[in-house]
């Protein structure tokens, strides 16, 4: 049975193995911040990585590698530890944002009720955004050219009958057509969004909007 809003195990394995891009890893790590069960799964997957590493045939090392390391250790300064600020964000995302609060970011208006901060652009035009939408906003009807992951940080939205609230992750892909999230009335909704390719917005106005926003 498909569970709405919780990432499937294959993404946990890819996260633990290091196979995700910077942006995918941030989305998955931030999603896991909300769910202790997912944290346990990540730990198990990393245990598997550790055992596979430990099970590897040992390679030979340069003779002086250990002595070199001890020489380095003797010249190192003491560690400094910088505690993280508490700004209400998942710890992985807070760290990624350099512990700035959402209000301290430069939000750019992208259409009626919608604003965004672009966080990262990948080598294959993957994009990581923070999106903010006012209650009642309808995201323009669209299809997908690739994967889209949306992690709700604040507020909530619906896609048809499915409701996405803080901590839930929506994964949409090429098979997801006529996608139109509707922000629930009341609070604004803030999401961390990863797109692997520009979405295909229906209608002329939507496409004009896309031209200016880069969605």
């Amino acid at each position: 049975m498909k569970i709405t809003g919780i990432v499937p195990d294959e993404w946990i394995v890819s996260y633990a193995s290091g196979a995700l891009s910077e942006a995918h890893a941030l989305v998955i790590a931030s999603h896991c911040h909300f769910h202790p069960d997912l944290q346990k799964k990540v730990k198990t997957a990393e245990d598997i990585g550790g055992l596979l590493m430990e099970d590897s045939e040992p390679s030979s090392l340069s003779n002086d590698l250990f002595d070199d390391l001890m020489k380095k250790i003797d010249t190192l300064p003491a560690n400094d530890f910088q505690p993280l600020n508490d700004n209400g964000l998942p710890t992985p995302l807070a760290g990624y944002l350099g512990n700035k609060s959402l209000d301290q970011l430069k939000w750019r208006l992208m259409g009626p009720g919608l604003s965004q901060v672009r966080l990262w652009t990948g080598p294959n035009d993957e994009r990581l955004w923070l999106l903010k939408a006012k209650g009642g906003t309808k995201v323009p009807l669209h299809d997908h050219n690739g994967l889209e992951m949306t992690l709700v940080l604040h507020g909530s939205y619906h896609v048809g009958q499915d409701c996405y609230s803080p901590g839930m992750l929506e994964i949409a892909d090429d098979d997801t057509v006529d996608h139109m999230p509707v922000i629930d009335q009341g609070d604004e909704c803030i999401c961390l969004v990863l797109t692997e390719a520009p979405i295909k917005i229906h209608g002329v106005i939507g496409r004009l909007l896309q031209h200016f926003t880069g969605l």
Partner: protein, 187 residues
């Protein structure tokens, strides 16, 4: 009795604890001799030079020396901890990306207590456990797990490498993970 033999029956986790409390170089050397060659082998899977793999293995062991006091043997295995550090160092230095960590420490079940086993027995148990768990996988499941952990390939890259449909790759990883979780359940 030489300086290393006094730690013969100590588990890896006990050695980390000794490093944390006393900055004991002999205890650290024992862990270095065991883990650094294995970390290097793991890192060499990613087509980096011998020198780079040694540098990264050395840096990973340096983190162990510096942060041994942060390690809690009740919550994690040392092999998991080192794997995570080595993975992140490779991604940071070779792929030039940040890899955000999941904070798993607050929610993990208690693991094997350090005093339950001695070092040699523990090494054999870990290796045997993984071998048995891997044997529970079918050929395709084993392949996708190895391509994930030893090549860091994404789902679509694994599909390209194996010729399997993307949906099949995802389901193979999922079922392989579930099988490994079951086999390693008491680990």
């Amino acid at each position: 009795m030489d300086e290393i033999s006094k730690f013969t029956n100590f588990s890896h986790e006990q050695l980390v604890s000794i490093i944390a409390k006393h900055k004991d170089r002999v205890a650290f050397k024992i862990l270095f001799k065991y883990f650094a060659p294995r970390l290097k082998s793991y890192l060499l899977n990613f087509k980096i030079s011998n020198q780079k793999a040694e540098d990264l293995a050395q840096e990973t062991m340096l983190v162990l020396w510096q942060k041994a006091d942060k390690f809690d043997s009740a919550k994690a295995k040392i092999s998991t901890w080192l794997f995570r550090v080595a993975r992140n160092k490779y991604i940071d230095q070779v792929r030039k990306q940040k890899y955000t960590e999941v904070n798993v420490d607050d929610h993990v079940d208690l693991m094997v207590a350090a005093e339950k086993t001695d070092q040699n027995l523990e090494e054999k148990q870990n290796s045997g456990r993984m071998q048995m768990a891997l044997q529970s996988l079918n050929k395709d499941q084993l392949k996708v797990i190895k391509l994930s952990f030893f090549k860091e390939l994404s789902h679509s890259q694994i599909a390209d490498a194996t010729g399997l449909p993307l949906g099949t790759v995802k389901s193979k990883i999922r079922t392989a993970f579930q099988a490994l979780r079951k086999e390693l359940g008491e680990y």
